[in-house]
Amino acid sequence: MAERAEPTELTRMTATGIAGLVAAGEVSAVEVARAHLDRIAATDQRVHAFLQVDTEGATAAAAAVDAARAAGAPLSPLAGVPVAVKDVFATRGLPTTCGSKILEGWRPPYDATTVARLRAAGLVVLGKTNMDEFAMGSSTEYSAYGPTRNPWDLARIPGGSGGGSSASLAAFQAPLAIGSDTGGSIRQPGAVTGTVGVKPTYGGTSRYGLVAFSSSLDTPGPCARTVADAAALHAVIAGHDPGDSTSIPQPVPDVVAAAARGATGDLAGVRLGLVRELAGEGAEPGVMAAFREAVDALTKLGAEVVEVSCPHFGYALPAYYLIAPSECSSNLARFDGVRYGLRTGDDGTRALEEVMSLTREAGFGPEVKRRIMLGTYALSSGYYDAYYGQAQKVRTLIARDFTAAFAQADALISPTTPFVAFRFGERTADPYQMYLADLYTIPANLAGTPAISVPCGLSGGMPVGLQVMAPAMADDRMYRVAAALESVLPAPAPPQL
């Protein structure tokens, strides 16, 4: 283990705080980038949040912000703020692996829309963060490049699939990060690392350049240490993209204003629905205790809490494990060794099909293979109606449950995940035990509605998250509630690394 490294003052700051200093000329963007790069260098051997650190690119981007400021050009609200990007987003010229051997060495010729928007807004991309292979997993244990460790306890998982992004925040390696949420891959890591994770409305953020796992569920979103920072990042990346057919051509709700309003601690007139099906069953007692305390706190802020029932949420997990693998079996077909990435067995003696097959055998890990097989089976002629077709019907029912619930409440609340960060190896033997981590987060993905995870205390010394869910294109509502909770229950600081 490397020596202890004290985080500098800059790495402890919020994103908006850093942006203010840069804009005021009190600190240069290059200094900010350097502080974070140093912190990464000092801590990442232990945490392993990053798969790729782009020292050169980050320094150049920061210098460009400083030059723009010196030239008197107007700066975007987050200009000069470092950001870590989950390795599932295409970054021009920077290796993009999706945590998989099959993409080792691939340098995309283009930037994902999310990344392009970060760059255009003057954010400084520090590098690419670790993840479960192709975003399939809840612990980063399925990364082909080794797991990320939870800064709260290095013997525990940081959540997944976007464990690298959330861990980089908890380790003060970056003030902001980008994730992608297909079944909880932003929110569950946020919950178990004591950080904020947001899954925006499906179609509210562009999927262009996000390497697809499950196209109808994948949603890029912001990760931060505070709700206000998440909102500021949300505002940068959200908004219609003509390059994504499923992107919604509507204005983005004003999440920054909503977070500011929530931070005043006033929730008078807000009705919160406590989802009966997402509270209690399967959850650790400590998680439920922290959650109940948070509910009390919300009530004290003036919110009215009512119990609502979403009777079909019980079918969400099985429906998800038909839809996501089905889409992934098709999405991942392109990784065949023909055009990019790994190629195995092409020694001049083997036929094309054999080379494709050997490449996929060598390039994909066990969880990815499991889901490809599941999905291939579920889409097969004769099984389609019983599996994929049926799962799509469940999806409709879950969306109806949400609609009915939102008729009774402005936003819905639940614990984010049933249990705190578990120890490595605890859930890899039985896939179902791993899948349970997403029990409470999956319904929002199936319905396409937004949800946020915000820290709500500790259980056994490990962070617990509270989830706020809102109707589609009403992302602002959940920011207000989350910010209000944060104002009375500030996220506990992780132990120093």
Binding site: A212, G243, L379
Partner: protein, 505 residues
Amino acid sequence: MVVRATVEPDLEDVVRRYEPMIGLEVHVELGTRTKMFCGCPTGFGAEPNTQVCPVCLGLPGSLPVANRAAIEATIRIGLALNCQVASWCRFARKNYFYPDMPKNYQISQYDEPLCTGGWLDVDVAGETGDTVRVGIERVHLEEDTGKTLHLGGATGRIHGATESLVDYNRAGIPLVEVVTRPVAGTGARAPATARAYVAALRDLVRSLGVSDVRMEQGSLRCDVNTSLAPVGAGEWGTRTETKNVNSLRSVERAVRSELIRQAAVLDRGERVVLETRHFHEEAGDSTPGRSKETATDYRYFPEPDLVPLAPDPAWVAQLRAGLPEPPREHRRRLQAAWGLSDVDMQAVLNAGAVGLVEATVAAGTTPEAARKWWLGELSRRANEAGVDLAEVGAGPADVAALQQMVDQGTLSDKLARTVLDGVLAGEGSPAEVVAARDLAVVSDSGTLIAAVEQAIAAHPEVAAKVRDGKVAAAGVLVGAVMKATGGQADARAVRELVLSRLGAA
């Protein structure tokens, strides 16, 4: 190679014992400016892999966005084929591994095609002139694949190749698939019906201006389904699907050869294997390809990357109202207007001259004269030059101008052909050629009258015969005048002058 023990039956013989059934799947590459799901250009013949981007290369993370112009073209084709246009439908993924498919799935349509249930009336060439109504099952939109080039083998096919190269320029070009219902009851005319259908569909698509439909460039491709059932069997036989049918002639030959092959198989007491077959242009027959006995499972499912298509009914109505007159009706109207027999009209059609004659008539020429130019002199010239009639080098305006000069007596027929030489040689319009080459006929009546008097004086015995009513003899006098004027007189005008001078007119 299987040695055939029996003598191949001929088609007439085949249809006495078996009922042929045909079905056609035609793929039309649309001539949109950009590809189906990205902004890449679609021009034919560019350097390999120069018209590509992350989307049509299927790079990780890239996403498709549907091309509205392609959807519009598909709807117009569907409407022209009398189809219903879906009010809501989706693209679907067709999953299979092949290196010319960048994503290893093709974005296509499955159980929700854009257009369904239409028909196309087809005039089957032949003495009976019968019309066959071919049912259209569906018209759907999909993306084309790339092209694989197999090197090192003898056949250019994957078998025996040592190396394969892929060109993705074609990947993602919008492709419309038009599928017929099974066509029965055509008997020995099944091959001709298949050919006539493809020709009619080609003409229809061309009239819509949505594709250049050139079979030799692959912008119209045809798969032919063929089956035979014993007469009166009451159920369809096993079909085969013949691919690589790249010309109208090949469509006809592919159906014919396959019907004969299947009959031979059935005659031997064997069964026809459900398979795709590969047609060979040179030999005029096909060899077996992929067996379809174990059906490939394409695991179709709705394309989650694309929002559903929901064509606005007002838009569809507007597209319907904007359809051009169908080529068949158009031809019938022209045939009536031009007063042509079926045989004469067929000659115009076969020459590919309908549009040219029509435009020439529109420029003021009589149908008779226009047809004569295009089917006569110009067809001959096009033939000599080995080009399409439309590319012969003279257009309808030139022909109309030439004919006008002939009508006005400015040019003789012979001179008109000389002027045409000039036009084809790129010397300019007929008027410019006449001026440059000083080719106008002698029309000064004084000069002509003097020449006529001279000819009458030189041939008194001929003049006497004409005066006696033997008008045919006047040719000698006309010839003498033409000779005297160096051929630059209008023969008809000379003849009239001779006859009137001799009191025979």
